[in-house]
């Protein structure tokens, strides 16, 4: 276990009197509470899940999946090549008529069963997710798995009500075979976001998890089988970018759904040009998080912390661009720095841990490069000096002050626990600065004045706006971006549109 320590680093704020709630007694400490890793029940090697069977990859290649908090190998995962992807797409095509034409109430029962099984196996799934991804067990247990189960429950209920979905009263038909490519930050949850609405709509799927986090998706395959999802209705092909490309470019896929970086999203959109395939994209973000001088600051501090350090900041909607009204800037930064002292960084399996491991060496290098860029650009790097574990990929919670709107740390997605703090004077300036971004996924507002909050909600060009809260998600609530953050919605009634025609 690691402890947050007082630092001698000159960049770190000296302790000064702060809000009483933010300063814990010196003797206060936690007892460790480590979750049992053996609950994950890992196999040594995983094959591909195609047509209801575990299939060895054609080229007999496997790659290691490691625990990012220890760098130890967890298991081996199959590397799917074009032949395997083709096999999966064919299986999905063959399974389509049976799944589409099955009585809707039967499909509903099966999807409800998936939800229930996710709940029943939630502890095992949470441990597995934490091992594979590096996120704190508190989050995988209370957020990822819970929401994944809710998504299946929510869309299971839509399955036999599809004629109530489309506004024009048209009869709803599935699109067909869906290719779905998901990221590593919420592996199981993203699989649920993609599969649940597609399956409810009567589509069949080929899912490509991210190469660093395939394990919960493969466990989900077992659950789908147990719930009675027929062979071929969901196929899971593991691998890296070229596996995803093979799926995206397969001629017999009718729809692509992608969640990931804006750069890759653009490549996918380009490669689908002229093919007539349908596409939804959920891409990057650089969310503005607005703090007005009439905000409840203690609560805002919790929201800011939750907004940027949740899941180590590896969240497309992370509140990474803090915009503070000038009059409360100093006070807020003091509160934030004091609160950051209490963030517990370390073993993700410890139930006390707030900030887990960064998902991969590559991602850590990217975050660290932005820390250098920020300093080089002239911003001031601040935050607690943490004792970080010797092995694994770790980044201490960080914030930059003195950030100007054109700096790269203010405009580019870092995807790590790094907060850029900027200021504004008037609500109009806040709107202008907040909207001055190529992205438009999410935004946050803290103010106690209702009329101001609703005006901000209206003016912010972002797909999700959190007011006096942040990073909340729900199966019934549509999520997705404006501008270069993508198009299409996931969650809620609107989340069915991309899967029906």
């Amino acid at each position: 276990m690691t402890r947050v320590q007082e630092s001698s680093d000159p960049r770190v704020e000296p302790k000064r009197p702060v809000h009483p709630l933010a300063a814990p007694p010196e003797s206060w400490d936690y007892a460790t509470s480590i979750e049992d890793a053996s609950l994950a029940n890992l196999r040594d090697r995983y094959d591909l899940w195609i047509d209801g069977e575990w299939v060895k990859p054609a080229k007999k290649l496997w790659f290691e999946s490691i625990n990012p908090s220890t760098e130890q190998t967890l298991s081996e995962v199959a590397h799917a090549g074009p032949t395997d992807v083709d096999k999966a797409v064919r299986a999905a095509r063959r399974a389509l008529p049976g799944w589409r034409d099955m009585p809707a109430s039967h499909r509903a029962r099966i999807l409800f069963a998936v939800s229930r099984l996710l709940q029943e196996r939630s502890r095992e799934l949470a441990v597995l997710e934490t091992l594979d991804n590096g996120k704190p067990i508190r989050e995988s247990r209370d957020v990822d798995v819970v929401l994944a189960a809710q998504h299946f429950f929510y869309y299971a209920g839509w399955t036999d009500k599809l004629d109530h979905v489309l506004p024009a009263g048209r009869k709803a038909e599935p699109i067909g075979v869906c290719g779905q490519v998901i990221p590593w930050n919420f592996p199981l949850l993203m699989a649920a976001w993609k599969l649940a609405p597609a399956l409810a709509g009567g589509n069949t799927c080929v899912l490509k998890p991210a190469e660093t986090t395939s394990l919960t998706a493969l466990r989900l395959a077992e659950i789908l089988e147990e719930a009675g999802v027929p062979p071929g209705v969901v196929n899971i092909v593991t691998g890296a970018g070229e596996t995803g490309a093979a799926l995206v470019n397969h001629p017999d896929v009718d729809k692509i759904a992608f969640t990931g970086s804006t750069d890759v999203g653009k490549l996918i959109q380009k490669s689908l040009a002229g093919t007539g395939k349908r596409l939804t994209l959920e891409l990057g973000g650089k969310a503005a998080h607005l703090i007005f001088d009439d905000a409840p600051l203690d609560q805002a501090v919790e929201g800011i912390i939750q907004g940027i350090y949740f899941n180590q900041g590896q969240v497309c909607c992370a509140g990474s661009r803090l915009l503070v009204q000038e009059s409360v800037e100093r006070q807020l930064i003091d509160l934030l720095l004091a609160r950051m002292q209490n963030i517990r960084v370390g073993n993700p399996l410890d139930k006390n841990t707030d900030l887990g491991a960064i998902n991969s060496e590559e991602q850590l290098a990217k975050i660290e490069s932005y820390l250098e860029i920020g300093e080089h650009e002239g911003a001031t790097r601040r935050g607690p000096q943490c004792e970080l574990p010797a092995s694994g990929y770790w980044c201490a919670p960080t914030l930059f002050t003195g950030v100007t709107p054109t700096m790269r740390i203010a405009t580019e997605e870092i995807f790590g626990p790094v907060l850029s703090v900027l200021t504004f004077r008037t609500p109009d300036e806040a709107i202008e600065k907040a909207n001055n971004s190529l992205y438009g996924l999410s935004a946050g507002i803290w103010s106690d004045k209702g009329s101001k909050v609703f005006r901000m909600i209206e003016k912010l060009r972002a797909g999700v706006v959190w007011a006096n809260t942040y990073n909340k998600f729900d199966a019934s609530s549509p999520f997705g971006g404006y501008k270069e953050s993508g198009f299409g919605r996931e969650g809620g009634w609107h989340g069915l549109f991309p899967y029906l025609k």
Binding site: I268, Q269, K270, W466, S477
Partner: protein
């Protein structure tokens, strides 16, 4: 002795004004019904600079049009239908003279176009109730979703049906509060410019709708990569054109709606008067607000 007609110049429509192309170029429009050496008229041949100017005007107009109360947008679209109808004889004459339509077809087209505008006008103050939801989330939050316009859309109009095609393209873009630059091929230009005159006298704010006539093959490659456009509405069946425009759209993650040329859709009310045309350039915004004391 009857006086010769007053010569009418067909110009562009940008930011509420009727400029000639900045390039000074024109294209001759010949009679579609018979071979003739003498053109019926000259059409302004818009340039890439004209498209840029129009895009800028549309961007500037977006804040006001998107924030206008839906009732006002509806009344302005209704006003456009009023004026289209009152100038119906002129549109019919132009459809027969410049586009080669039979008088009966021209009459039907004008009536259908007015109907379509009215149908869309009525949607302005209902769209939020069609696409808006209150979401029953877990926890003490008031959570709702509502439709908002995408931004500035570039529409590539079909050569025909000149009037019905244009109205069917532009109305669903305008209803939610988008602004638009419409690239119009030579054949439909007299109709488009006359429709612009309708817009200019309907209290449609300057810049909300802009028309650049000319050679689409020349303008499309530039318009499709322009970053001021948030979306493209393309009517084309040319595989290469579709692929190029859609590929260019990827550079800025633009919303792309492609419809085959000569889509019978425009003539079929059940198909053309469908909310899905508005859905293409809508964003759904979800807001969460804490409930407490």
């Amino acid at each position: 002795m009857t006086a010769p007609p007053v010569h009418k110049t067909f110009k562009l429509y940008i930011n509420g004004k009727f400029p000639r192309s900045e390039s000074g170029r024109t294209l001759p429009l010949f009679d579609p019904k018979q071979k003739s050496e003498i053109p019926l008229t000259q059409i302004a041949r818009g340039s890439r600079k004209d498209v840029r100017d129009a895009a800028q005007a549309a961007r500037k107009a977006f804040a006001g049009w998107s924030a206008a109360v839906p009732l006002l947008r509806g009344q302005i679209l209704h006003r456009m239908a009023e004026l289209l109808d009152s100038r119906g004889r002129e549109f019919e004459e132009y459809l027969t003279f410049y586009c080669g339509a039979t008088p009966a077809r021209a009459e039907a087209e004008v009536e259908a176009a007015a109907d379509r505008l009215l149908w869309y006008a009525g949607w302005c103050d209902k769209l939020a109730q069609l696409y808006g939801t209150v979401n029953p989330v877990v926890g003490p939050y008031f959570n709702f979703s509502m439709p908002e316009p995408t931004g500035v859309v570039c529409a590539f109009a079909p050569p025909k049906p000149a009037l019905l095609g244009l109205v069917s393209l532009l109305a669903p873009i305008l209803v939610p509060g988008n602004t638009v630059v419409c690239v119009v091929p030579l054949e439909a230009a007299p109709i488009a410019v006359t429709l612009a005159e309708v817009c200019a006298t309907s209290d449609l704010p300057a810049g909300v709708l802009n028309i650049v006539t000319g050679d689409p093959d020349e303008l499309m490659p530039h318009a499709s990569v322009h970053r001021e456009f948030d979306g493209n509405f393309l009517v084309s069946s040319q595989a290469e054109v579709v692929r190029d425009i859609e590929a260019a759209a990827a550079n800025h993650v633009k919303r792309q709606l492609t419809v085959p040329a000569h889509a019978p859709a425009w003539w079929h009310k059940s198909d053309a008067q469908d909310v899905r045309w508005m859905q293409a350039f809508l964003e759904i915004k979800t807001a969460w607000h804490t409930m407490g004391q």
